[in-house]
C-alpha cells in the first residue's frame, strides 16, 4: 500500500483511474454499448500482434515472403500470431459495421455529437487503409495481385492519378520501395493517426456521455444512471472475450492466415481482394472501361458522403428510430448493399469451375513453395525458393552444363546421346540394337560396340539385366536370365560388372544407380567409365555434390519412364 501511496502522490494515478472508471452511464449499463469498447480492444490486439510480427518481418521484395513464411512455419506460434492479426482485421470490419448500426439506431450521431460521428467515419476510412496496406506486406501472389488492382485504379484517376500512384508505390513498378512505403504507412503513419483519432473519439464520447436509449425520459435515465465500473466494464470484457474466443477458434481451425506462393509478376493470377473489399470488386464488374475508375472511387465517395451528411440532415425532435426511418434506412441499405454485392461475388466464384480449378492450383503452388522454403530461401528471394526444388535446380544445371551436347525434352544440341528416357527399358532396347545410331553414341568417340543380335525374350532379358544394374524397379528373375545371355553372347569380353575395373567397354556394375551417376558425372574419363574414349567434361570441382546428385535424380527420372 505504501508504494501505491507514494506513486499516487507523484502521479495522481488514482484520480485518473477513478475518472476513467466512474464515467456515469445514463440509463445504466447495456449490452448494446459494447461495440466501441470491443473495437478499442481489437485495436490493441492489432497493435500487439502487429509489433510481434514486425519483430520477425523484413519489408523488402526479396525478403518479405521468405520472412513471413518463416513466421508461419518456423517461429513458435508464429502462425497463431499472424492468424490473430489477420482475423483481427476481419473482426474489426464486422464490429465496425455493428458499431455503425448501433450508433445509427440510437441516433448517436445527432447534435451535439456530429463531430464525433465524423471522427468515427475517419477511423473507418483508416481501417480500410490499414487493410489495403497490410495486405501487400507478405508479398505473396494474392497480396501482390490484389494490390495491383487497387493501385491501378488509383493510377487511372484523372489528372493526378499516375503521379499519385507513382509516389505511393515508389516508382513506375512494384519493388522494394512499394514495400517500404506500405510498411511505413501500415506500422507508423496509420497507427499514429488511428491513435490520435481514437483518443479524440473516446474523449468526445466522454464529453457528451454515451447516447442512451430513446424510450426513457431524462428523469428516468438519470435515476437509472450507474458508473462505468463495474457493470458496463464487465459487459465490455465479456464482449471482448467472445470476440477473442471466436478469433482464436477461427485461427486454430484454419491454422492461421493463408500464405500464397511468392509474388510472381510473370504468372497469370486471378486476383480477388480480401472479403471486405469484395463489394467494391463486384461493383467494378458493372462498370466497363473508363467508368471503372468512377465506380471504384465514386462508390466509396458517395457512401462516405451520405454518412457524412447524416447528422446534418437528421435534425428532428425525436431520437426514436421509427421517427427517423429514412436515415436509419440509408445506413441499413448501404450495409445491406455491400453485403449483397459481397455475397454475389463469392457465389459467382463458388459456381465458376475455372476459378475453382485456378484456386486449387494456387493452393498447391502455395504448399509447394512453403515446403521448399523450409530449406531456406536463396538471397534472390521470393520465387527463387523454387530453386530449392531439386528438379528445378537440375533443369537449370542441365541448361547450363549439359544442353550444349545433350538433348532432353526438346531442349539442347544433339552432339552426344539424347537423354530422353535415358536408360529406361525402351532406351536400352534401342541402344543395344543400334549403339552407333546418332541418337546414341554415333556422334561421339565412344564407338566399337557391335549391335546385339539377340531378339525377343533374349533381348528383353538382356535389357532387364542392364536395367537391373541401376537398382530398383527391375524384374530379378528376368535379369538373372539376362546375365546368362550376357555371358553367352560374349558381352563380358568387353564389359565388366563388378563396378571397379576398366576394360574395352564401360564397367556396367551399378550402372544408372544414383551413386554411379554421381561418380560418372564427376569424372566420366575414369577407366571404369569411358576411359580414353571420353569427350565429356568432368564436373568434379565444377559442381557441388548436391548439384551432381540433383542431375543424377533428373536422369534417374528419365530411367523410370515407361
Amino acid at each position: 500500500m505504501k508504494l501505491a501511496d507514494w506513486l499516487d502522490e507523484r502521479t495522481g494515478y488514482r484520480s485518473i483511474l477513478r475518472h476513467a472508471l466512474d464515467e456515469p452511464v445514463r440509463g445504466g449499463a447495456r449490452w448494446s454499448y459494447v461495440f466501441g469498447s470491443a473495437l478499442v480492444f481489437l485495436l490493441l490486439v492489432q497493435a500487439a500482434t502487429g509489433a510481434l510480427l514486425a519483430a520477425f518481418y523484413a519489408p523488402s521484395s526479396t525478403d518479405a515472403w521468405a520472412s513471413v513464411a518463416y513466421v508461419q512455419q518456423e517461429v513458435t506460434l508464429g502462425w497463431f500470431i499472424r492468424g490473430l492479426h489477420s482475423s483481427g482485421a476481419s473482426a474489426m470490419m464486422i464490429l465496425t459495421a455493428l458499431h455503425l448500426l448501433q450508433v445509427t439506431l440510437y441516433g448517436a450521431y445527432r447534435r451535439p455529437r456530429e463531430v464525433n460521428w465524423w471522427v468515427g467515419l475517419a477511423l473507418m476510412a483508416l481501417l480500410f487503409a490499414f487493410a489495403l496496406t497490410g495486405y501487400l506486406l507478405p508479398w505473396d501472389q494474392k497480396g501482390y495481385w490484389a494490390t495491383q488492382v487497387a493501385t491501378s485504379l488509383l493510377g487511372a484517376m484523372p489528372l493526378v492519378g499516375p503521379w499519385c500512384k507513382r509516389v505511393l508505390i515508389g516508382g513506375p513498378e512494384y519493388g522494394n520501395l512499394t514495400l517500404t512505403h506500405f510498411y511505413a504507412l501500415h506500422v507508423l503513419a496509420l497507427p499514429a493517426a488511428a491513435a490520435v483519432l481514437t483518443f479524440v473519439h473516446v474523449a468526445l464520447m466522454r464529453k457528451h456521455g454515451i447516447t442512451p436509449g430513446w424510450r426513457q425520459s431524462d428523469a428516468q435515465l438519470d435515476a437509472a444512471a450507474e458508473p462505468f465500473w463495474p457493470r458496463q466494464a464487465l459487459y465490455d470484457f465479456v464482449a471482448m472475450s467472445v470476440v477473442l474466443a471466436l478469433m482464436v477458434v477461427s485461427v486454430a481451425r484454419s491454422h492461421g492466415a493463408p500464405l500464397e506462393a511468392p509474388a510472381d509478376p510473370s504468372s497469370a493470377y486471378d486476383a480477388r481482394p480480401e472479403w471486405y473489399f469484395l463489394p467494391l470488386y463486384q461493383l467494378l464488374k458493372f462498370f466497363p472501361g473508363r467508368l471503372e475508375v468512377l465506380a471504384a472511387l465514386g462508390a466509396p465517395a458517395v457512401a462516405g458522403g451520405l454518412l457524412f451528411w447524416l447528422p446534418l440532415a437528421d435534425r428532428g425532435p425525436s431520437r426514436n428510430p421509427a421517427a427517423r426511418k429514412q436515415f436509419v434506412g440509408i445506413v441499413v441499405l448501404l450495409l445491406l448493399g455491400a453485403a449483397a454485392l459481397g455475397a454475389e461475388a463469392s457465389i459467382a466464384d463458388a459456381e465458376n469451375p475455372s476459378y475453382q480449378k485456378f484456386r486449387q492450383r494456387a493452393d498447391r503452388e502455395s504448399e509447394r513453395a512453403l515446403t521448399l522454403a523450409r530449406q531456406g530461401v536463396p538471397v534472390a528471394g521470393g520465387t527463387a525458393v523454387y530453386d530449392n526444388d531439386p528438379t528445378a535446380r537440375a533443369r537449370r544445371l542441365y541448361g547450363e552444363r549439359c544442353a550444349g551436347c545433350h538433348q532432353l525434352d526438346g531442349a539442347g544440341e544433339r552432339r552426344a546421346p539424347d537423354l530422353d528416357g535415358w536408360s529406361s527399358r525402351a532406351w536400352l532396347r534401342d541402344f543395344l540394337r543400334d549403339p552407333e545410331n546418332p541418337r546414341f553414341y554415333g556422334k561421339t568417340k565412344v564407338r566399337g560396340m557391335k549391335p546385339v543380335k539377340q531378339t525377343g525374350d533374349e533381348l528383353e532379358a538382356l535389357v532387364e539385366f542392364v536395367y537391373a544394374q541401376g537398382g530398383d524397379g527391375a524384374d530379378a528373375a528376368r535379369a538373372e536370365k539376362g546375365r546368362a545371355v550376357f555371358e553367352a553372347a560374349g558381352c563380358d569380353d568387353c564389359h565388366q560388372t563388378d563396378g571397379a575395373k576398366g576394360d574395352e567397354g564401360p564397367n556396367l556394375g551399378g550402372r544408372a544407380s544414383k551413386k554411379w551417376l554421381h561418380d560418372f558425372l564427376a569424372d566420366p574419363s575414369e577407366p571404369r567409365f569411358f576411359g580414353d574414349k571420353n569427350q565429356m567434361p568432368k564436373f568434379r570441382g565444377k559442381l557441388e555434390d548436391a548439384d551432381l546428385d540433383a542431375l543424377a535424380d533428373l536422369l534417374r527420372a528419365e530411367r523410370a519412364r515407361q
Binding site: 480492444f41 490486439v45 500487439a48 500482434t49 510481434l52 519483430a55 520477425f56 525478403d63 521468405a66 520472412s67 513464411a69 518463416y70 518456423e74 517461429v75 513458435t76 506460434l77 508464429g78 497463431f80 500470431i81 465500473w229 463495474p230 457493470r231 466494464a233 464487465l234 470484457f237 465479456v238 471482448m240 472475450s241 477473442l244 482464436v248 522454403a373 530449406q375 531456406g376 530461401v377 536463396p378 538471397v379 530449392n388
Partner: protein
C-alpha cells in the same frame, strides 16, 4: 460481498484473463530465438587457403568464409562469419579468434610492439594470445587449426565474451 463487488471481481478476472490469453502466446513467440538456432551452418573446419601463402612468424588476419549458411529465412552461400589471426612457425600454424574476449571488439596486431591490442578498451595480449594487461578476463581464444594437404583448416567458433572461462556461444 455485495452485488457491486461481485461484478467488480468478475470484471477484473475477465480483464486479467484477456491479458494472460494474449501475453502467453506472445511470450512463446518472442522467445523463439532462445530455444531454436536461427543462424546455423556446418561445424566442419573451414579452408583458409594455402599454408605456403602465410609468412613465417608473423600473424596475418584472414577472413573466414563459410560455403553454406542459414540466416533465419535465408539459405546463403559464401558468407563471411568473421576473421582469425593465423600465425605460421615453420610447419605449424596456430589460429586465434580476432574476437576480443572482453566485449567482442576486433583485436588488432601491433607490429612494432609484437603484441595483440584491442582498440576498444586497450586489452593487450602477447604474440601467443596470452593476456598481458587490460580488462579482458582471459587470453585470446585459440581455435582448432590443422594443415591438411598444404591447406589450412580452422574450426571457427565463437565464445562468450566477458567471462574467465571459455564457453561456446
Amino acid at each position: 460481498m455485495n452485488r457491486r463487488s461481485v461484478l467488480a471481481w468478475m470484471a477484473s478476472a475477465i480483464g486479467c484473463a484477456l491479458g494472460v490469453a494474449l501475453a502467453v502466446p506472445a511470450a512463446g513467440y518472442l522467445t523463439f530465438p532462445a530455444r531454436k538456432r536461427t543462424v546455423s551452418g556446418s561445424d566442419d573446419p573451414i579452408d583458409l587457403g594455402e599454408v605456403g601463402a602465410l609468412p613465417d612468424g608473423k600473424p596475418v588476419r584472414v577472413a573466414v568464409k563459410v560455403a553454406r549458411w542459414r540466416d533465419a529465412w535465408n539459405a546463403l552461400t559464401d558468407v563471411t562469419l568473421g576473421a582469425v589471426w593465423l600465425r605460421r612457425d615453420g610447419d605449424s600454424v596456430r589460429a586465434l579468434s580476432t574476437v576480443c574476449p572482453h566485449t567482442g571488439c576486433a583485436v588488432d596486431w601491433d607490429a612494432p610492439q609484437k603484441q595483440f591490442r584491442c582498440p576498444c578498451h586497450d586489452s593487450v595480449f602477447d604474440e601467443n594470445g596470452a593476456r598481458v594487461s587490460g580488462p579482458a578476463p582471459r587470453a585470446m581464444d585459440a581455435l582448432d587449426c590443422a594443415v591438411d594437404g598444404g591447406r589450412v583448416r580452422v574450426a571457427y567458433r565463437r565464445y562468450r565474451p566477458g567471462v574467465r572461462d571459455r564457453e561456446p556461444v
